[in-house]
Amino acid sequence: MSAFAADLRVISELGRRSIRQTIRRPQLSAPLIIFPTLLLAIQTGGAGRAVQLDGFPQVDSFLQFMLAGAMLQACMLAGNSGGIALAIDIEMGFTDRLLAAPISRFSIVLGRLAGTAMVGAFTAIWFLAIGLIFGVPISEGVLGVIWIIALVAATALAFGGIGAAIALRSGKASVVQGLFPLIFVILFLSTAFFPANLMLAPAADIAEYNPLSFVVEGLREPIVSAFSGPDSLKALASIGGLGAIGFVTSALALRGRVKRGG
């Protein structure tokens, strides 16, 4: 078996393990789906009248507007909980066992990320299903759905990289867990929940340049109106950028950890 094929097997095995972990540790997986779903329900009920405001984009309903934000939120939480799981592995010494195995070191991280991407794809399907159940039309139809699932999986992968980097750097689950509120800070400073033109300053100005706004707009356009070339490109570029940051920082953190001897 070639080295590459061996690595792939390791990645897929570790990916399956990370998905099993997500399912078997309800305290990790529950917040990931339940939290964004509850927030979605509360926000659509509480701020639903916002669609009547002057300057609100043309949408079918507030729920239609909010779906993209909920998916993005779930991706960030998935990245965070993947990081927590990795940190727990480090605390328990499981990672050391993998590092001692004759496999490419980065496949340890890639395995975890593969699992996170799968979880991301699942959240996309979950929220699209919620939309369909409550009568939200997906403007771009089946093609749009496929595009969204792929984009959400890629986003989860990117955030998984960042979560893994923090886990590898700190080696402590509590540190990664502590980032939870930070996720909401960044989200609230994007157009995930509300259009930028109706947000208050200074958040509105930050949202204009927040890469998360680009990601969420790229996810939102095919739901509420139509594919837009520039929006899709900006989304892809943002995801690519976030992914690159996650990749490089976790590679560095992994090297640091190996150098320090665990």
Binding site: P26, G48, R49, F184
Partner: protein, 257 residues
């Protein structure tokens, strides 16, 4: 020593012990303490435009949301109390208390009272930041009522958290402790006045007793304080506290059944 004095001493000792969580591992408490403020800043920045809707009762969305974030802080504190108790049960510490002759209601009071005192910490931080960015000053009476309500809500959330801790005896029930109370807090007039809520949430908020609690805490920030807006909230809190305390006590007694 009289029973009453002994019981007060026990409660005080238990409160002191649980303050260790805060004083001796300060790092661990920071996310929970800051979270309500972060949510406050986030919600007001994102949804601030809602005050432009016709029929919205105030022009300052910050003033409108303060009580919600205060309740959220209280709910978090209560949930954290439940998680800590679950850990104490898992590690066997709680057996020490159960095997002592301390009356069961005293043990519960010690746990719950510390939550209600602790809830003033996230509340203080939130209020300082909110006033700094321009929320309305609610007057001393309005502020006093809001703080009493915060402590009451923390009591309710702590009895909820402890009930679940006794039931599940495991920290993995944490999401249930947190989500349960947050739902109670947010399925109210959290984001907008009752008339502006959409469909189902309007119905739920109308019957949710915590809506009265939020409104009682809110009154000073968005207008004048009246007895008519105060007593329903206090009654709702008292009712929830009695109900959930009974549940928690029953749970504690079942621990040794």
């Amino acid at each position: 020593m009289s029973n009453f004095r002994a019981n007060v001493a026990m409660i005080r000792a238990l409160v002191r012990r649980s303050s260790n969580e805060l004083l001796r591992v300060p790092g661990a408490a920071i996310p929970g303490v800051l979270a309500p403020t972060i949510f406050f800043l986030g919600i007001t920045s994102a949804f601030g435009g809602l005050t432009l809707l016709p029929g919205f009762t105030t022009s300052s969305y910050q003033s409108f949301v303060i009580p919600v974030s205060l309740m959220q802080g209280a709910a978090f504190t209560g949930a954290a109390t439940g998680v800590n108790l679950a850990r104490d049960i898992e590690q066997g510490w709680f057996d020490r208390l159960l095997a002592s002759p301390a009356p069961r209601p005293v043990l519960l009071a010690g746990i719950v009272l510390s939550a209600s005192l602790r809830s003033l910490i996230p509340a203080t931080i939130l209020l300082i930041i909110a006033f700094a960015i321009g929320a309305h000053w609610p007057g001393f009476l309005g502020l006093g009522i809001a703080l009493v309500v915060v402590m009451g809500m923390a009591t309710v959330a702590a009895t909820w958290g402890t009930s679940l801790a006794f039931r599940f005896k495991s920290q993995s029930a944490a999401p249930l402790m947190q989500a349960g109370m947050l739902l109670f807090v947010f399925l109210t007039t959290a984001y907008a006045p009752l008339d502006l809520l959409t469909g189902w949430l309007q119905d739920v908020a109308r019957i949710n007793p915590v809506t009265q609690v939020v409104e009682a805490a809110r009154q000073g920030f968005v207008g004048g304080v009246t007895w008519g807006d105060t007593w329903p909230g206090l009654v709702a809190l008292a009712g929830l506290a009695v109900l959930l305390s009974a549940m928690a006590l029953r749970g504690m007694r079942r621990m040794t059944a």
